[in-house]
Amino acid sequence: MKSYKDYTQLILKINGQIRKVIVSPNDTLLHVLREKLGLTGAKPGCENGDCGACTVLMDGKPVKSCIILAVEAEGHEITTIEGLKDTPIQRAFVEESAFQCGYCTPGFIMNCHAMLNTIPDADYDTIKEWLSSNICRCTGYEEIKKAVKKAQKIAGGL
């Protein structure tokens, strides 16, 4: 049985790299990513699991890193926005200007990326279901929708 009673070294696999970090059991994954590993792409928003700004992938599935303990991430593959390079959804976001202030963008991109990997030909209802997990306070949803459609074309899903 694994146990963590105090500050301990944790080995995490993040963006394909093994990272060693000293954590306490009460550290959230978001906190460790940003404050201890310098991966500031995932954003603190509501820190309540509502807004999706902190979305990262755990074993390819989108999760909200503000409501996951860092110790829970042990043994899983974590992907942050820093781990994506020139993916179809990133290109589509740029081409469609699918961001305004940009604060929600990493979360949206991670969620879209996971969706396109899982269901390349996602229909409108599926896209709506997945992306309802993220909030854009600039309300730039129309451009985000266009970016998803474009990314599907770029990736060959549609």
């Binding site: 049985m1 694994k2 009460n26 906190h31 999706g52 755990m58 999760v63 409501i67 110790v71 829970e72």
Partner: protein, 276 residues
């Protein structure tokens, strides 16, 4: 980040989990079982929940499986709501769990966590109440199986050190027709003002309700009442004596509004089953 310190344990078996719980309890600590963690972490961060140790149940194999047994289909309590939604055997379960939270959060919320949680809604419970599922509960003395309708009284009644490992539903319910109505105030991703799930089998119409009271419920007396041969108007007029709690009133909706919504949708359900 959570503002208080605690210990974290990740047992690999039921026995390890119950043993560590007992040991921590003996040491005077307050341990808490933990799976998806969405509610625990949120409440702990807000200071609404305190504990000295978390016992993470995610490595316990019996809690992570979905399997067909001779006497029914078993859902491990650690199945996430998205995993449960992918199982197509029970369309009502699929439909109900897909309305809880948002898609991303459903990658973490577990069946067991939703049903045993502290929020008043616990919507994943509704189909299991209607199907009179067996709930498997582990404790220091081993595993027991109970009817979920016996084990649930405003909340799943668990003794100190016990936790839910899974649920079993009879295969015969797979083809049972159902109706599912969920009403929210604005966004689809919101807690329900009212959620009524209903099935009709050889015993008649059964309903389970969330959002109306401070806890979800299924009432045998209510089922009996709605299956009497009275006119729908009469059934609805006399329905509140069979509701096992006061009608919820909060900043989302008044009790009067919830009652009106309930009456309207109960009428719809009675009409639809009448047509069927």
């Amino acid at each position: 980040m959570i503002s208080f310190d605690f210990e974290y344990y990740r047992p690999d078996s039921i026995k390890e989990a119950t043993d560590v719980y007992a040991q921590l309890h003996e040491e005077g600590k307050s341990p808490l079982y933990f799976s998806g963690g969405t509610e625990v972490i949120t409440m702990a961060r807000k200071g609404a929940l305190k504990f000295d140790a978390l016992i993470d149940l995610k490595n316990i194999e019996e809690m992570n499986v979905y399997r067909k047994d001779e006497d029914g289909i078993y859902f491990g309590a650690n199945m996430t709501l998205n995993e449960a939604a992918e199982m197509k055997d029970f369309p009502l379960i699929r439909e109900v769990v897909r309305t809880i939270g948002d898609h991303t959060i459903r990658n973490r919320i577990t069946l067991g966590g939703n049903i045993c949680g502290r929020l008043p809604y616990r919507e994943a419970l509704l189909p299991f109440l209607l199907y009179d599922a067996q709930v498997y509960i582990a404790g220091i003395n081993g595993i027991k199986a109970l009817s979920i309708n016996e084990a649930f009284n405003k909340r799943l009644v668990l003794s100190k050190g016990e936790f839910v490992i899974g649920f079993k539903v009879k295969e015969s319910f797979m083809d049972t027709k159902y109706l599912n109505i969920r009403k929210v105030k604005t966004s689809e991703i919101d807690y329900p003002l009212l959620h009524i799930a209903s099935i009709k089998d050889e015993e008649g119409i059964k309903i389970a309700v969330s959002g109306l009271c401070a806890y979800p419920f299924r009432s045998y007396e209510l089922d009996k009442h709605i299956n009497c041969n009275s006119e729908p108007d009469e059934i609805i007029n006399n329905v509140y004596q069979f509701i096992p709690g006061t009608i919820k009133e909060d900043n989302i909706a008044s009790a009067e509004y919830r009652k009106a919504l309930f009456e309207l949708n109960l009428e719809k359900i009675l009409e639809k089953w009448g047509e069927a």
